[in-house]
Every structure is written in structure tokens, then in C-alpha cells.
């Protein structure tokens, strides 16, 4: 419980500091052209693409030899709507008296609604939904005497499939030029795993461990913004 209190508390603090930076960017552009504003008649043409990667996964991979986690993200913005897709791969080893390995790929696909009115700065404060799937396998090996002599156990699930849904809260702020950073807070629900045999899987790539059917997660991203709308040339 304390873990969630601390996470919520620092999420709020981080939200305030991030939004202060976002607000400064907004206020510095007091005259916003109709093209740049998200108010007025909606223009559903895609106006930017952000391509990024999960920095938290990179950090964990760098400092934890038992975990390999890479994730790429694309965010396509159309008016207030952001279409988001994540693809990732995760390999995780556990155990000292046993050996458990879980590896596989996952994706998330969904949409966010950006509550920031102006699009020129490219900042993001959004709430959205995701549908996610993981395709993975796991294996457990250990030795034990369970009443009928010492046995070397080897269990494996070769074709596991999991699906879940997410409610995501995202913030991306402009750091410099077209470089953006920010986090996503996830509430993961409706998890279901198929393909288990004797071994009950412990990890789901992209979701986390299976100790609870629902979970929360936090990810931090860095992204590069690619504007898609051409600026109108001023005619003399």
C-alpha cells in the first residue's frame, strides 16, 4: 500500500513540475495561428509523429543483468487524438535456488486524448486506453525431494499468449528542439493468460508479474517529434 502512496505522491509532484514547464511553453506563444491551435474547426490531418523509446527499460537492462527490456513507441497526433502503438521485447531470469526464464514480445495499441489546447509546442497531457497482447514462453528448472526421492524438474510453456487492457495517463514535455521526454502511468486490467500447462507463468512481458490480476506500472520515455504539416509560406 505504501508503494502506491509514494508513487501517487511523487506522480503529483512530477506532474506539477512538468506542467509548469509546459505552461511556460504555452505562455511564450501568446499569439497562436489558426493552423497551430487545436480550437475551432477540427483538422483531423495528422500533424505530428513522435517516435521514442522506453528509457526505464534501457536503464533496467543496463543495470540488471537478469533483465533485458526494449520498447519502442510511436504517437501519431490528429487534432486532440493521439494514436499510440508500443512494441517491445522482454527477457527476464529469476531465481537463485532455481532457474526461471521468461521471454517474449508484446504490443500495445490505443488512443489518447490530449488535453493541451495548442499543438505548436508539441507537449502532451493525455488520458487514453490501450489494448495489449504478449506472445511469450517460460521455463522453470529446479531440484527437490517431494517425498519420492530427489527429482530434477523441468517445466516449460512454449506458446503462451496474454492479453490485457490499460488506462494510461501520459505527459510529454519539450526538452530542447524536437526532443521530448515524459512518463506514462498505467492501470492494467483484465489480464488473461492462455497456454499454461503444469507451470503457472510468473511474468507477462509488458505487463509485469502475475501475482495480481490487475496492476499498475510506470514508464519513462524519450521521443523525437516529426512535424507532418507543412508550414504555409508567407506571400509578399
Amino acid at each position: 500500500m505504501w508503494r502506491y502512496i509514494f508513487v501517487s505522491l511523487f506522480f503529483v509532484i512530477s506532474l506539477v513540475t512538468q506542467s509548469q514547464g509546459t505552461e511556460e511553453n504555452i505562455n511564450s506563444q501568446s499569439r497562436v495561428s489558426k493552423l497551430d491551435s487545436l480550437q475551432g474547426k477540427p483538422n483531423w490531418s495528422p500533424h505530428e509523429l513522435k517516435v521514442g523509446m522506453n528509457l526505464l527499460g534501457v536503464g533496467i537492462t543496463a543495470f540488471n543483468p537478469s533483465v533485458t527490456h526494449y520498447e519502442l513507441q510511436g504517437m501519431l497526433a490528429m487534432h486532440h487524438l493521439i494514436v499510440v502503438m508500443d512494441v517491445g521485447r522482454e527477457i527476464r531470469d529469476r531465481g537463485s535456488t532455481y532457474q526461471y526464464r521468461n521471454e517474449g514480445n508484446y504490443f500495445r495499441l490505443g488512443g489518447d486524448w490530449n488535453f493541451i489546447k495548442t499543438k505548436k509546442a508539441g507537449n502532451l497531457f493525455s488520458l487514453g486506453l490501450r489494448y495489449a497482447q504478449a506472445f511469450f514462453s517460460d521455463r522453470l528448472a529446479y531440484t527437490s525431494d517431494d517425498g519420492f526421492g530427489t527429482v530434477d524438474y523441468l517445466y516449460a510453456n512454449n506458446k503462451l499468449r496474454a492479453r490485457w487492457a490499460e488506462v494510461d495517463l501520459s505527459i510529454r514535455g519539450q526538452m530542447v528542439a524536437n526532443l521530448y521526454m515524459g512518463f506514462t502511468l498505467r492501470w492494467q486490467i483484465l489480464r488473461k493468460v492462455k497456454g499454461e500447462g503444469e507451470l503457472q507463468t510468473f511474468d507477462v512481458p509488458g505487463f509485469g508479474n502475475t501475482k495480481r490480476p490487475n496492476s499498475t506500472a510506470f514508464d519513462y520515455y524519450v521521443a523525437w517529434r516529426i512535424p507532418l504539416l507543412k508550414k504555409k509560406r508567407k506571400t509578399r
Partner: protein, 151 residues
């Protein structure tokens, strides 16, 4: 400031791990066999020497005494069926109990050893006067898995 907050964020999320007590795992790798009198249905003291596949139980993790009315016995993890022989010393009575089951293994917590348990326990054959299956899963919250009744 915001970078400091972000670093603190990482630290707290990473530091606040759930710490599990392995003893809280309710899965068990053995089943509980209880004995009852057929006519009175009262609990009956164990009067058998129990063995399976050449192993005699009654010591160590599977110890029981003459005053016990139930015993904890393992199921063979390398098979989905096991045959128990229950021999009454001094009496020419040998009972048999053949059980079938499904084996499962899970990780209660990464810091705990793998948790082996059984489910779908069923009887294939028995020589007792009567038998019931109050609990088909080996779990510490289930008092008795197999109840046998005899005179």
C-alpha cells in the same frame, strides 16, 4: 528540479517492492488422508503402516503416531497416479488406495522456492468400506483431501 523529482520517482518505485513471507504460500505438495469409523463416523486412530512404491511413510515430514486420526502423504510428482498400501500390523488386513491427480507448479514469490501442488485429486481404486473427497486441491486451507471409512 523536475529532473531530481524524476530520479526520486525511479528510486521510490524501484525501492518499494512487495516483500512476501514464503510461509504465506498456501500451496502444499502433500494431501491429507483422514480415517473415520464407518458406523459412528467418528474420527478413527491410524492403525496402518502406509507405503507406496517401496517407500514407507511415518517419519520426518510425513510422521504420524498411533494416536493420529489423519496423515499427510506425498503424491508422486513423476506420475499422475500413485498406489498406497495400508497394512495393519498383526492383522491380516491390507487396504489399497489408488489416487489420480494433476500436478501444478508456481512461483509464489521470486525469493521463495517453487511451489508444487496438486489438483483434481480423484480415486481410481480403493478397498475401504467407503470414501469421500472433501477437497481435491492440496492446500493448507483444506483440512482433509481424502476421507476413508472402515469398521
Amino acid at each position: 528540479m523536475k529532473y531530481l523529482v524524476c530520479f526520486l520517482f525511479f528510486g521510490l518505485v524501484w525501492g518499494c517492492r512487495d516483500i512476501e513471507n514464503c510461509d504465506a504460500d498456501t500451496n502444499q505438495d502433500f494431501f491429507v488422508l483422514s480415517f473415520y469409523d464407518l458406523e459412528t463416523t467418528a474420527a478413527k486412530k491410524v492403525a496402518f503402516e502406509i507405503s507406496a512404491q517401496g517407500r514407507v511413510f511415518g517419519e520426518g515430514d510425513y510422521a504420524y503416531s498411533a494416536d493420529s486420526t489423519s496423515v499427510s502423504l506425498p503424491l508422486n510428482p513423476e506420475s499422475n497416479q500413485v498406489t498406497f498400501t495400508l497394512d495393519s500390523p498383526g492383522v491380516a488386513v491390507v487396504e489399497s488406495l489408488v489416487l489420480s491427480y494433476e500436478k501444478k507448479v508456481s512461483l509464489f514469490d521470486p525469493d521463495c522456492p517453487p511451489s508444487l501442488y496438486y489438483e483434481a485429486i480423484d480415486t481410481v481404486f480403493h478397498t475401504f468400506d467407503s470414501l469421500t473427497l472433501p477437497g481435491r486441491i492440496t492446500n493448507s486451507q483444506i483440512e482433509t483431501n481424502v476421507a476413508v471409512y472402515f469398521r
